[in-house]
Symmetry: C2
DNA sequence: CGTCTATTTGAATGTACTCAAAAGCGGTGG
DNA sequence: CCACCGCTTTTGAGTACATTCAAATAGACG
C-alpha cells in the first residue's frame, strides 16, 4: 500500500507532525478494484472517503430507462464518492466502478469524526478539498445548463486533456450528457 | 443588522465562546440589496461569504445567446456566491441579484483566513456547510443528466416547496433548465 | 390607467434521441 | 497465430422533446 501520492496531496494544504502522519496512516485501508468491479453499488452506504492511487474509477447514476450517467471520473490523485451518502449515512444514489484495474485508499466513515478530533488540521484539509470539489461541480452545472453539446465536449477536452485519450468515447458521452451515437456523429461531422 | 439567524445557523454545528462570537460579529458586514439590484456582477471578484437574512437572491450565468440560467436561489438562512471566484480570487462567472428586497451579511474574503486562524471551529463550520452544498450540487447534476423536464420540475417542487409559490415561473424554468414557454406548456398539458 | 413584465398559445424548427444494423477493435482461447 | 466473441463506434432513418419566434392575454406596480 503506497500512500505517498496521498501524503503529498495532503502536504500541499496542511503539515502533519510525524505522529499525526503515523496515526493517519494507521486508519487507512487499502483496496484493489479490478476493471468492471464495483467499489460501491447504488443503494449501499458509502465506505468512506476514497482516494485513488492507480487506475481510474467513475461514479454514475442509472436512470429509469437503465441508461448510465457519469458524474465523475477519478484518475490517480483524485477522491471519489457519493458525498450525500457519506455525510448523511444514507444509501448511495451512485454506483462506483473501475474502468481499469485500480487501487484505492480509504478512511472508514466511522473513523472520520475521530480524525477531526485528534488532528483538527484535517478539518482544514477536507474543507479545502470540498470547496474545490464544489467549485468544479458549480462549473459543471453552468456548463450543462448554458452550453450546447459541442461546447460541453470542447470544455471537457480542455479541462481533462489526459482523460480524453484513455477513456472510451462512450464514457465521455455519458459525462457530457449525450448518447454515444450522438457524440460519434458530432465528432465525424465537419464544421 | 440582525445576525440572530446566522448565529443560530452556526450554533447548530459549532459552539463559540462569547469573545469568539463578538469577534465574528465584528468582521460581519451588512448590505441591503433591493429588488433587481446586483450583489455581484459577472466578471467581478466575489465580495466574500454571503448569508441571506431576508428576501431572496439568485445566482445565474448568462449564455452566448443572452439567456439566463439560474444556478441557485437563496432565501433567508442560505449562503450564496460563486465559490470558484471565492476560493481562487478570480472573476466571477455568475451574477447575483435580488428577486425581492433583501438583506445580507457577509465576511470579506480578506478576513476569512484570519478567522480560520483565530477560531479554528470555523474550519469545521465551513467544512460542513460546503459538504452539504456539495451534496446538493451532486444531486442536481444527477437530476439534470438523468431526469426529463417534467420530473426535474416535480423534484424542484419536492425539494423547495416554499419557493414554488414565491418565485415567478420563469425563474423556476431557468433553474430546471427549460424555457419559460416550455414550462408553461408542460404545466397546462394534462398528463 | 398605462406601462412593463410574465404567462399563455401556436406554428415551425432543431437538437438530440431511439432503434437497427454494420463495421471496427481488442482480447482470449483453441 | 488466427478466429471468434463481445463491446465500442459508426451510420442511417425516423421520431420526440424542447426551442425559437411571434403574438395575444394576463398581472403587477407606480
Amino acid at each position: 500500500m503506497d500512500a505517498s501520492l496521498l501524503l503529498k496531496s495532503i502536504g500541499r494544504h496542511i503539515s502533519l507532525a510525524p505522529e499525526e502522519e503515523a496515526h493517519f496512516l494507521s486508519i487507512l485501508h487499502y483496496k484493489s478494484v479490478k476493471k468492471k468491479q464495483f467499489l460501491t453499488r447504488e443503494g449501499e452506504i458509502t465506505r468512506g472517503h476514497t482516494f485513488v492511487t492507480s487506475g481510474i474509477l467513475r461514479s454514475y447514476s442509472i436512470d429509469a430507462n437503465g441508461y448510465e450517467h457519469v458524474i465523475q471520473f477519478a484518475p490517480p490523485g483524485w477522491w471519489i464518492g457519493d458525498i450525500g451518502s457519506m455525510i448523511h449515512q444514507r444509501p448511495s444514489i451512485l454506483s462506483i466502478d473501475a474502468l481499469e484495474d485500480s487501487e484505492v485508499l480509504y478512511i472508514a466513515e466511522a473513523n472520520v469524526d475521530d480524525l477531526y478530533e485528534r488532528i483538527p488540521a484535517f478539518e482544514r484539509f477536507f474543507r479545502i478539498l470540498t470547496q474545490n470539489a464544489l467549485a468544479a461541480h458549480q462549473q459543471r452545472i453552468v456548463s450543462i445548463l448554458s452550453l450546447p453539446a459541442k461546447e460541453r465536449y470542447a470544455e471537457f477536452c480542455r479541462l481533462y486533456p489526459s482523460l480524453i485519450d484513455c477513456l472510451p468515447q462512450k464514457q465521455v458521452a455519458s459525462y457530457i450528457g449525450v448518447t454515444p451515437e450522438f457524440l460519434s456523429k458530432m465528432l465525424n461531422t465537419r464544421a
